[in-house]
């Protein structure tokens, strides 16, 4: 069954997201809110990876071959300047969108599988991911006019 595939995808995507948050937090340390918020989100994403481990272990005996290009790539470096920040936040937004919808899909499968532990794990983590998504959206929307119209 491919639930295991998607649990692996979710853990890998959360790990990539955590690493990318750290990259952005450090690369844009002069943006104080980005710096602290992304560091906090990185801790959340890492905790999500840990929360997934015991559930995933229960399914590994039913693991199927993975499809091509299952796991997303993350950010390894940051871009410079205000427009570089905006573009980096968009990359994070894309990643967190993937994580967010993957939590939703895993949650659907958990319901179908009547897996109470996984349902609880989804309930505990998915909300944080959705909040990360909302924050990135708010932050980018606020910065866009200045970045696109005035900044150099």
């Amino acid at each position: 069954m491919h639930l295991c595939t998607y649990l692996i995808l979710l853990a890998a995507a959360e790990q990539t997201l955590a690493d990318s948050y750290v990259t952005v937090s450090q690369g844009h340390a002069d943006e104080a809110d980005v710096h602290y918020t992304c560091a906090d989100f990185a801790r959340q994403a890492t905790a999500h990876v840990e929360a997934l481990a015991p559930v995933t272990a229960r399914y590994t005996d039913r693991r199927e071959p993975e499809p091509e290009r299952l796991r997303p790539d993350g950010l390894t470096t940051t871009r410079g300047g205000p427009v570089g920040l905006l573009r980096d936040l968009q990359d994070l937004y894309q990643l967190v969108s993937l994580v967010d919808i993957t939590w939703a899909l895993v949650g659907q499968a958990a319901a179908g599988a009547r897996d109470r532990e996984l349902i609880d794990t989804v309930a505990g983590c998915h909300g944080q991911t959705t909040a990360q998504h909302a924050w990135l959206r708010s932050r980018m929307r606020a910065a866009a006019p200045q970045t696109l119209l005035v900044a150099t």
Binding site: D30, Y36, P145, L149
Partner: protein, 791 residues
């Protein structure tokens, strides 16, 4: 009258619950002036804290010669504090009397024509080449309503920039956002008269004894009267409030939300909740209960460093009292989870149905005398009249008031906060920054960075001020302005009381009012409405006030029933004041109906963990419809926590004798002598460990800078280092507290973190005597034999 630097709160006039606070008229006339010498007493209100005491200014020979409280004023019943009595004298020294302009790297005197031409030329040039977002206006919590509303009209209706904020972001932004999150809109629910009726007082991070001395006098008179209220104090220092407390919780700075979640947990666990009120008037109870389910007193005790039994005792006081007044201030607001912690104060009251009736009230404090007006008039976090930037109809209303295209009014995002403005100025995308009535080169966090921003070539800096300050020295143009009592205008205190300050004397030299300066700027820039009429359409204080009244009709802060004449006759009057409440309104939400209706609310709210905005659709879907919103989030440690290299928790605060960066109070002899220069406070335990004695010179170092000052061994809690932020850097040694503070802020209010920075302390050399700190305040020495060397 006794020396009010020694007897800070004056004589007691005790009174019982339900009685009126007795009058006590305080007066100060300068040496050599008798009452018979006073030619006129001009009415107004004190501008040296957020209390807004009604006063009369004594004038003789075209000069201010004294001041007295107005007995009939509802705020102070005649009383004044030391800053109010003595601080105005600072206006008579070292004033700026002519504009200054930077030439060849130096500021030189010039005339208004030259100065304003330079300002307008740079402004026009940037507007033409880069557009409105190149402009920022950083103002104050000490200007008049007329000035704020005029500048808001210029900035948001004429130029069209969202980059307008005040130093109110540093002091009062969290009060505004906590109201918005809980009640849908800014606006103080309670009234100072609630102190007269309460049976319990909770002071959360609020050293009222030093920040609003006359409000503390009112509380003291209740505490010394029959049937006194029980008092709970949350403060890491042993303040004068703490000394009178039934329960004092000296929590580690930076752990407010852990304590607040535990107090809410305890109200729910013990069953102190008013189920009927909660069911009828709130949403979010189940989420609040779930979010605080694990926040036991024992859990919080570990984090906060206070006994669990004391947390339980505090919750019991709240739970077993019938009429609770809570105040909340900088200890909560200038912290990393500021809005969430302040919302929990609101939640305690909502859970117990403790608001909207005599003695049961919330006072989310302001730091500054007109902070409320910055917030409500549109120079800060909201559009004028607490209008919602996310509500197209609110924007349309403003556009009609100003007769401008709604597209001009920036409403794609919240108004820009000061942190973001300074960041844009740092990067040069704000190339024109006008600073009025404030001194960010001392008051902002992380001063090395702020000085770099203001002195760089990437941004043209205009400063309107009455003195040369640390900030004017970095400006390109400095404009000399009139101060309090040198102009006419209105302002609103903590409990919505509006006062009119009438012009008593002429400003010195060529100084002009900020209103005149901004009208001049608008006219020179040629700002116009849709029909080509001048924008703003007024040029006098009273006409500006009338325009403001029109902008508030039907909004929660309704001023439409007020007039200059009425304010002159009566003194302070509380908004809303309109046809249905012509004498003003003592308390908001008496019927348990809040401003959360979607069409009326100021904000749709935020996620208290991240600060992400709630959308209009999400908000509508909850069908909140006039109920209050219970919400919180989990506790997180501060942005910077102590470690091996920087093991102590640094916090900044105020002393009773000074106001902000001391521009006025250091020029008033009585006040300056009482607290002449910088000090830092260490606990007995930390001082012993470091080998530091009273008065020894220490260096305090953070990741951002270092300062040197004499150490006061005080009753601050172990592990915490306190420093006043009033003092700038003197010529050869760094002394400004904000050299150490961090660039970080609460995600919702964007109020900077001033209450936790990790530092270490080293002994530099032994001192020559006690530290120059007051001995009759929270800065009192552990060694009681020490007296203030300034006295």
């Amino acid at each position: 009258m006794n020396d009010r630097v020694v007897e800070i709160w004056g004589e007691r006039t005790p009174y019982a619950s339900g009685d009126a606070w007795p009058d006590r008229v305080d007066q100060f006339l300068v040496d050599g002036v008798a009452e018979s010498d006073v030619e006129s007493w001009v009415r107004g209100a004190c501008l040296l804290c957020s209390n807004g005491c009604g006063v009369e200014v004594a004038v003789a020979g075209g000069r201010i010669v004294g001041i007295r409280g107005r007995a009939e004023d509802r705020v102070n019943h005649g009383r004044m504090g030391p800053k109010g009595l003595y601080g105005w004298q600072g206006q008579q020294h070292d004033r700026l009397t002519a504009p200054l302009i930077r030439q060849g790297g130096r500021l030189v005197e010039t005339d208004w024509e030259t100065a304003m031409s330079a300002v307008v030329e740079r402004s026009r040039n940037l507007l033409d080449t880069k557009g409105p977002l190149s402009h920022g206006f950083f103002t104050s919590g000490q200007l008049m309503i007329e000035e704020f509303y005029t500048l808001a009209t210029i900035g948001k209706g004429g130029i069209g920039t969202p980059h307008m904020d005040g130093n109110t972001r540093l002091c009062t932004a969290t009060a505004a956002t906590a109201f918005g999150e809980s009640f849908g809109c800014d606006g103080q629910p309670g009234s100072y008269t609630d102190v007269d009726d309460c049976d319990a007082l909770f002071l959360f991070g609020h050293n009222v004894a030093e920040t609003q001395t006359v409000l503390w006098a009112r509380m003291l008179d209740r505490l010394d009267g029959p049937n006194p209220p029980r008092l709970v104090c949350v403060d890491p220092r042993r303040t004068k409030v703490a000394e009178r407390a039934t329960v004092h919780l000296p929590i580690r700075n930076g752990t407010n939300l852990a304590l607040m979640n535990a107090l809410v947990h305890q109200l729910i666990a013990v069953g102190y909740v008013d189920r009927e009120y909660v069911a009828a008037h709130t949403v979010g109870y189940d989420e609040l209960a779930a979010a605080t389910a694990d926040a036991t007193p024992e859990w919080a005790a570990e984090i906060c460093g206070v006994p669990a039994a004391d947390i339980v005792a505090a919750a019991d006081v709240f739970g077993t009292s019938d009429r609770v007044v809570s105040t909340c201030s900088m200890g909560f607001y200038q912290s990393h989870q500021a809005t969430a912690a302040a919302c929990q104060v609101n939640n305690l009251h909502l859970l117990r149905g403790m608001l909207g009736r005599p003695g049961a009230g919330i006072l989310q404090m302001n730091g500054q005398p007109s902070a409320e007006n910055n917030r409500e008039a549109g120079c800060g976090p909201a559009l004028p009249g607490f209008r919602n930037w996310g509500n197209a109809e609110h924007v349309e209303e403003l556009a009609r008031l100003w007769n401008v295209d709604p597209l001009v009014i920036p409403h794609w995002s919240p108004p820009t906060d000061a942190n973001a403005m300074f960041r844009y100025a740092e990067q040069g995308s704000i190339g024109f920054l006008w600073i009025a009535g404030t001194n960010p080169a001392v008051s902002m966090p992380n001063l090395n960075r702020i000085r770099r921003i203001l002195s760089g070539n990437q941004c043209f800096v205009v400063v309107s001020d009455a003195y040369r300050t640390e900030t004017t020295e970095l400006a390109d143009v400095v404009l000399p302005v009139a101060l309090w009592a040198e102009k006419t205008g209105t302002f609103t205190n903590v409990d919505r009381t509006v006062h009119l300050q009438e012009k008593a004397i002429e400003p010195p030299g060529q100084a002009r009012s900020d209103l005149d300066v901004w009208i001049d700027y608008a006219r020179r820039l040629g700002l116009a409405d849709r029909d080509g009429g001048p924008l703003p359409a007024w040029d006098t204080p009273e006409a500006a006030f009338e325009a403001w009244k029109a902008a508030t009709v039907g909004r929660p802060c309704d001023y439409s029933g007020l007039s200059y004449q009425q304010l002159h006759d009566v003194g302070g009057i509380q908004w809303p004041c309109n046809d249905t409440a012509p004498a003003g309104t003592e308390r908001l939400y008496t019927d348990g109906v809040f401003v959360t209706d979607r069409a009326r609310c100021e904000t749709y709210g935020h996620d208290l963990a991240t600060g992400a905005g709630v959308s209009a659709e999400q908000y509508s879907a909850r069908r909140i419809d006039g109920r209050a919103i219970l919400k919180t989030t989990g506790y997180q440690p501060a942005y910077e926590v102590p470690d091996e290299q920087f093991p102590l928790r640094f916090t900044t605060g105020r002393t009773v004798f000074h106001w902000h960066t001391r521009t006025k109070t250091k020029r008033a002899r009585q006040l300056q002598d009482a607290a002449p220069s910088m000090w830092v406070e260490l606990s007995t335990q930390d001082a012993a460990r470091l080998g530091v004695g009273e008065g020894d010179i220490v260096r305090v170092t953070s990741r951002r800078g270092a300062i040197q000052a004499p150490a006061r061994i005080s009753h601050v809690r172990e592990g915490t280092v306190f420093a006043p932020w009033h003092y700038g850097d003197s010529g050869f040694v760094e002394t400004a507290a904000n050299d150490l503070t961090i660039t970080a802020w609460d995600p919702i209010s964007k109020q900077p973190e001033f209450k936790v920075a990790a530092v270490n302390v080293q002994l530099i050399r032994h001192g020559d005597g006690p530290a120059p700190a007051p001995t009759n305040t929270a800065s009192a020495p552990v060694d009681a034999t020490i007296t203030n060397p300034g006295r």
